[in-house]
Point group: C2
Chain length 345, copies 2
DNA sequence: TTGTATGCGTTATCAC
DNA sequence: GTGATAACGCATACAA
């Protein structure tokens, strides 16, 4: 085949088949009726020359690119990675391509990417991390999202911005974190600390509230020296644990609002010669891939990555296709018991 | 501003400015000369109406999309993730957008993605994992790469397929692994095992060869029961360590051809009640993010992710711009000494 | 059922 | 220095 595939157009096929380009187009899209005889003739020519429609030209006409923009805070947090991984594979399976933009947790970068990807005519956005986690985001951040959501479907994964045009798929983090606390208490722990990431984010504030409520319900001591906030990075988990271990009395268990923090916390405890879980128990949230293999295995909450990702993609595609889309979907998460939380006899 | 930005075209601007679309286009591209007076007039109108050129239309004309296709084997191996992360951020900084395709290490998927992304008119490919690591790939896998590389720049990250049109950026893995072995030996280890991923891949075979040579050079015992191959996943590292620990005499140190395996190996040693590094030392390769925080911290080789990623992107962009591009770039990697390898007195 | 003609929004060629 | 117009490749409204 000496013909360069790149340069075969609908015109070439039409000429070879002795029909008009309209007919060829009809055959390709399959939307309109074409007489069987001509359809087969055209199909054969298409096959013979290996013709493939030019997706750019099609996008120019249709205003649709079969592309989804994935705006993710970073690829350093394994939770985000799992979502990206599953979302890409699933989306492509549904005939969509993923454009990825890493915002490095900068709101300006989110804005730039929203604009850039809109210019690239993505058919929808998936938002992962960033402003959607803010408890009190600046008004303009919300306004911007609203503006875009008028034109394109936007899905937040684990986000909380509530606006009529925005879709949400999220883990029931409150319920899941309550499970984690209840389990810890059921193991006999009476002195429990809490390590969190940034204040002012939903994944943090929600869990802090649940934590306080649960301890009160159980008439347990709330020691503010054992409640340390930082960032959602390993080093911060270590730092927070260090602070907790400096207090006069140390807790028997420390809950972390995510696994990354828990790993930092375990690392620090270990450095100080403490054994997890014998000297101090540590629990996490997310069940990132390494948590299973850490020593000791981390007891944590497993978020349902696969469904979070797939539902996010489905919402976009269904919206595009004009199907009904549930605005908010909430998913349960399971407790994963490993070795990092000791049962106190 | 009541006008919908989406629908402003070059025609609107031309009309408002009282010039032709050609002039507006000249102002936008900046390639041809326009009288200062008219240029300023047009620029003002553009600003006033917030006009932005339609990138799809431009792509249809130019055959360029300012998009790079990133074909990655999986987002489960942290090494790949680091590259993706850096590549996306850097590429966008250079005004390119990243399309990501996860091949799940299936060659057919690589083929599909090559074709799909070419139809989407990416301006180049970055290849991460997959067939480019095969020591003896099927001929058709090579032919396909050759075919695509005639039309588009393709960069392999740590790949070895040698073809005149393909670019390569890679860590000098042989040299780096030699460093790792030399260090292990310098710590006094005389009985050393090796855990690898799949046979038939360069990152495996090359290291096995280095391993044998180094041991011979040092007149050390080569015990084939201590050389176990599997897959590049954590579980495989555990399994391999299990096999090594079943042998009569156990090595004092085990080298792993990547960190993922090392983590599995350490986990297994630990499960069997052995302390790393006191009972057995474990060393890795890659320095994935968790290796620093693992207990004990993993002694390993740090690949220069940032440069690997940036050089890959640069090669693509320079090729597109018609600049000279070095076909192969080889990067050194450093030994990172942590706690997982014990010094024997 | 099929063909013609037009639009999609650019850039570039060629006149003027 | 500027404008008219073709070209990029497709999809579709309308006409036949």
């Amino acid at each position: 085949m000496s013909i360069d595939k790149d340069h075969i157009t609908i015109y070439d096929i039409a000429r070879k088949a002795g029909v008009s380009i309209a007919t060829v187009s009809r055959v390709i899209t399959g939307k309109s009726c074409v007489k069987d005889e001509t359809r087969i003739k055209v199909e054969n020519i298409i096959k013979k020359y290996g013709y493939e429609p030019n997706l750019i030209a099609r996008a120019l006409h249709d205003k649709l690119t079969n592309t989804i923009g994935l705006l993710v805070q970073s690829l350093t947090n394994p939770f985000f990675i799992e979502i990206c991984n599953e979302a890409e594979i699933y989306a492509r399976n549904m005939d969509y391509t993923m454009m990825i933009g890493i915002t490095t947790n900068k709101f300006e970068m989110e804005s730039k990417l929203l604009n850039l990807f809109e210019k690239r005519q993505v058919d929808g956005f998936i938002f992962l991390g960033g402003r959607i986690n803010e408890v009190n985001p600046d008004e303009y951040l919300i306004e911007e999202i609203k503006k875009f959501s008028e034109r394109l479907p936007i899905v937040f994964v684990n986000g909380k911005i509530n606006y009529k045009n925005c879709y949400i798929v999220k883990t029931d983090e409150a319920k899941a974190f309550k499970k984690l606390i209840d389990y810890t208490i059921s193991c006999g722990h009476k002195f429990i600390g809490l390590i969190t990431g940034q204040r002012g984010l939903w994944p943090t504030e929600e869990k802090i509230e649940i934590f306080f409520n649960a301890l009160k319900e159980n008439n347990m001591e709330i020691n503010n020296d054992w409640i340390i906030s930082g960032e959602y990075i390993v080093e911060s988990g270590s730092e927070s644990m260090k602070k907790i271990l400096k207090t006069n009395k140390r807790p028997t268990a420390v809950l972390c609002t995510n696994d990354v923090l828990a790993i930092g916390a375990m690392n620090e405890a270990n450095k100080q010669g403490l054994n997890v879980p014998n000297d101090i128990s540590v629990l996490g949230f997310d069940d990132i891939f390494i948590s299973k293999y850490f020593i000791p295995g981390l007891t944590t909450i497993r978020q349902d990555y696969v469904n979070l990702a797939r539902i996010a993609v489905d919402k976009i595609i269904n919206h595009i296709n004009g199907n009904f889309v549930e605005r908010v979907t909430i998913i349960d998460a399971d407790l994963v018991i490993r070795e990092s939380c000791r049962k106190i006899l």
